[in-house]
Amino acid sequence: MRMSCCAGLVAVSIAMRAVGAQDSLRFVGGDATTSREVQQIIEAAAAQGLPAGLILSKARFAVAVHTPGPKIVETAKSMATRLVVAQRAIAPHAQESDLAGAEAALSYDVPVEILRRISSASPKEPIAVPLGVLTQLVADRVPAKRAAEIVTDLLRRGATLTQIAELGNNVDADVKIGGYRALDAANMRYNGLGPHLAPLSAAAAANEPGLTSSSGPKKP
C-alpha cells in the first residue's frame, strides 16, 4: 500500500511538473511557422539548461509590438546564443535574473570582458542590478567602458543595490526630464555617491587602474 501510494505520488508529481513546464514555456503568436520555429528554439534552450523563459518573454514582446515573423525567429536565435555566452561569462552566477541582465548587456554590445569583471567584482552576490544599470547606462549612450568603470567601482566600494539602482534611475531621469547628456549625468551621479562609499583599496586600485577615477573621464 505504501509502495503504491509513493509511486502514485511520484508519478502524479512528475506528470504535473511536465505539464506545467510545457505550459509555462509555450509560445503562441505570429503565424504557425513562426510559432513552431520559436517553440523549437525555446525547447532547445531549455534542454541546454538555459532560462528559456527569457526567450519566450522576448518573443511575446516582439508579437506585442507587431514584429514580423522572421524577425521574431531571428531575435529568438540571437538571444539563445547570447544566453550561452552570458552563462559562461558570469559563472558561477546562475540566477535567471543575473543571466537576463548579462544577456541584455550583450544585446547592447557590451563586451564579454566587462561582464566577467562585474561578475568577479561581486562573486557572492546577485549581479542583476549592477548589470541592469550598466545596460541602461549603455542604452543611454554612456560608453560601455566608462559605464563598466562606474558600476564595478561602486561594487568594489561596497555600494548597496539600492544605491546602484538609484544611480541608474537618476541618470535615466536626468536624461529624460532634464535633457542632460547621459555621460555627464552618470559622472555627476557617481561623484555624488563617492563620499558615502568606502575608499577603493590600494590593491583593488592597482588591479583595476581604470577604477581610480573619481571625476569621470578627462575631456580632451
Binding site: A7, M16, R17, G20, A62, K71, E125, A165, D172
Partner: protein, 200 residues
C-alpha cells in the same frame, strides 16, 4: 541527514524508482519537514487497546481513501506550483548547509519587491501592465481603476534588476509609461519603458 542510498539496498524496484525520482525534486527546508512530521505524529490516532480491529474490507477502503487523498493533494500541489518549477532546467538538491550572512543577503537580493505602476487612461475599459517580469503576458497583471476612474494601478512583485515594460490598453493598444524613461530594444527596434528595481 541519512543518505537515501541506505533505503535503496534490498528495496523493491518500484520503491527504488520512487526514491530516485524523489531525489530529483527540489530541496525542502529541514524545519518545514520537521513541522510536517510533527503535525502528522500529533494527528495520528491509535485505536484503544480494547477496541476490536476494524474488518479487513473496511480498512482496505480506508487505505484507498487515504491514498487517493494523498494523490489528489499531490496533484493540487503540482498544479499550484507548475509555474514556479521548470523541469527542463537542472534542479540541484541542496545539502544541509549552514546559512551564512552572504547566502542570506544573496537570497534577499533576489527576493521580489512589490512595485507599483500607475497609468492615466480615463476612457480605457481595462488596462494591464506587461513586461519581462510577467513574460509580457497581459492576463497576469490587470490594473485596477481608481475611484475617480482616471487612474489605473497595479502592484506587482518584481525581482531586482532592469525591467522593460508597457501598458496594454483594452487588449490591443500598447502604451509606454509616460512617467518612465524609454529604451529601444536593440533586436526589435521597438521602445519599452524601463525601470531599475533595487532593494527598498
Amino acid at each position: 541527514m541519512r543518505d537515501s542510498r541506505d533505503f535503496r539496498e534490498g528495496a523493491d524496484p518500484v520503491v527504488r524508482r520512487a526514491i530516485d525520482e524523489l531525489r530529483r525534486l527540489p530541496s525542502v527546508e529541514d524545519h518545514v519537514v520537521a513541522k510536517v512530521v510533527s503535525a502528522a505524529a500529533t494527528a495520528r490516532v491509535l485505536p484503544p487497546a480494547d477496541e476490536p480491529p476494524a474488518p479487513v474490507r473496511e480498512r482496505r477502503w480506508e487505505r484507498i481513501a487515504i491514498g487517493g487523498g494523498i494523490v489528489a493533494a499531490a496533484a493540487i500541489a503540482g498544479f499550484l506550483f507548475r509555474g514556479t518549477v521548470r523541469s527542463p532546467e537542472p534542479v540541484t538538491v541542496a545539502a544541509a548547509t549552514s546559512i551564512t550572512p552572504a547566502s542570506l543577503s544573496a537570497e534577499r537580493a533576489v527576493a521580489p519587491i512589490v512595485e507599483q505602476f500607475i497609468f492615466k487612461a480615463p476612457t480605457a475599459r481595462h488596462v494591464s501592465v506587461i513586461g519581462d517580469f510577467n513574460r509580457w503576458d497581459a492576463s497576469t497583471a490587470p490594473m485596477s481603476r481608481s475611484g475617480d476612474g482616471e487612474l489605473w494601478s497595479a502592484s506587482i512583485p518584481i525581482v531586482p534588476g532592469r525591467h522593460v515594460y508597457a501598458f496594454m490598453v483594452d487588449d490591443s493598444l500598447l502604451v509606454l509609461d509616460p512617467r518612465a524613461p524609454k529604451t529601444r530594444d536593440p533586436d526589435l527596434g521597438a521602445d519599452g519603458s524601463v525601470r531599475i528595481v533595487g532593494r527598498p
